[in-house]
């Protein structure tokens, strides 16, 4: 997701083509061609410009509506409801790929969460995240916390730092010292202050209550697409 103001001018984008299964858009005002995944103007009058990334989330509707009670939902367009594929994920996964990276760590259609910290890109295989969430990692010296939500489908990435100090997090109820008899509600707990944190990255109780972690933009993508635009990416392994 991108802001669409460039050099003080508001642009309107439309779908204009495809580049190795990542779509191209053009703006009505200048006709410039933009690559969807990078937000870069690759041809036309604004070539070289980059759109500003907007922090966005991929969440389940259920998770989102607990967080934003006054939010608005894009209404389906009646004419096209037949075209909407509720089961889009396995359907898209069946489509062939036109670029592949043999010899790399992952398969073309493996789903990853990709992020970039000061130019250093890293991909986190979705399967690994699903098994290990919350994942604590360092990229380019920045401590990161990658976490799947209570629904197991929503995800967010945070800077794992409380008051400028690196922090460790674990999922409440997963501490082996705790008894599993009582099922506690979903919450993260930090190892330093033992405060409880919600999926929005804010402490809801304990000494850190009221504090929120900084967010890091991350993209859920197929490996082939992520690798194509981030040739130097590393892959998280544990």
């Amino acid at each position: 997701m991108w802001t669409r103001t460039v050099n003080g001018r508001v642009l309107h984008f439309y779908l204009a083509g495809i580049n190795n299964q990542n779509f191209l858009m053009r703006d009505k005002e200048t006709g410039t061609w933009w690559q969807q995944i990078t937000g870069k103007a690759i041809y036309g009058p604004l070539q070289g410009a980059t759109l500003e990334l907007v922090l966005s989330d991929e969440l389940t509707f259920g998770e989102w509506r607990t967080e934003f009670t006054n939010g608005l939902v894009l209404a389906p367009v009646a004419k096209y409801t037949k075209e909407y594929e509720p089961n889009w994920e396995p359907e898209v996964a069946k489509l062939p790929v036109v670029i592949s990276f043999p010899g790399t760590e992952l398969k073309s259609r493996d789903v990853v969460v990709g992020l970039t910290i000061n130019g250093a890109a890293r991909a986190y295989p979705w399967e690994t995240l699903a098994k290990q969430s919350p994942v604590v990692d360092h990229v380019n010296g920045t401590p990161l916390l990658l976490v799947l939500g209570p629904d197991g489908k929503s995800f967010r990435v945070f800077v794992s730092r409380i008051d400028a100090r690196d922090a460790e997090f674990f999922l409440q109820g997963e501490d082996p010292a705790e008894t599993s008899a009582e099922k506690k509600p979903w919450a993260l707990v930090d190892a330093t202050t033992a405060s409880q944190w919600n999926f929005q990255g804010c402490a809801t109780s304990g000494p850190a209550q009221g504090k929120c972690l900084d967010r890091i933009p991350a993209l859920k993508d197929y490996w082939f697409d992520w690798r194509n635009y981030h040739p130097d990416t590393t892959v998280y392994k544990r």
Binding site: L24, L72, V77, K79
Partner: protein, 181 residues
């Protein structure tokens, strides 16, 4: 005398025919060039930017450049094609007239298609997005959405819809954004 004057007339006629043919040869060449340019300006980029095909960086660059100038150039070249075809029409027989028509058809098609965004025929854009309060939405709680928030303005774009429309221009909390999927 009569015979001689007739043959003289014929002779002049033959000369005129020859010169006509020579002139028409010089019209056929620009006609073919205009036709080739118009047809190429649509078909070459359409061929390069095919879904499920590899796009080499240089080929993509050529496709974007051609698409960029195609609306103007196909208009000029297309009109030139018709003017030249009109000039040729009087000088040629029925077979060549058929050939002219046969060439003008894809020329017209290409000039029209160079102005069309056929990707939006496949994936229709949302002209004026409508929104529902979350309590009115019939989405399943398990459905994935793309979410964005500016100040107190929060939006959810269901991925099942975005995977079809691909691009949505919106203004959230006063900030113009484009949601892409």
């Amino acid at each position: 005398m009569n015979t001689s004057s007739l043959s003289e007339h014929e002779f002049h006629g033959q000369l005129a025919d020859q010169s006509n043919r020579r002139t028409s040869r010089w019209i056929w060449i620009p006609f073919f060039l205009c036709a080739l340019a118009t047809i190429g300006l649509f078909f070459v980029p359409a061929f390069i930017i095919r879904p499920f095909r590899y796009q080499a960086p240089r080929a993509l660059f050529v496709a974007m450049a051609l698409r960029q100038y195609a609306p103007l150039v196909t208009l000029i070249a297309g009109i030139a094609c018709f003017v030249l075809a009109f000039a040729l029409w009087k000088t040629v027989g029925p077979w060549r007239r058929a050939l002219l028509v046969l060439i003008l058809l894809p020329v017209t098609f290409s000039a029209v298609m160079a102005r069309q965004n056929y990707f939006e025929w496949m994936f229709h854009p949302i002209a004026g997005p409508q929104f529902l309060a979350q309590s009115e939405s019939k989405l399943d709680p398990k459905e994935m959405i793309m979410a964005v928030r500016f100040a107190s303005d929060a939006r959810a774009y269901p991925i099942s819809q975005m995977a079809y429309h691909h691009v949505l221009n919106d203004v959230v909390g006063g900030v113009p954004i484009v949601a892409t999927y």
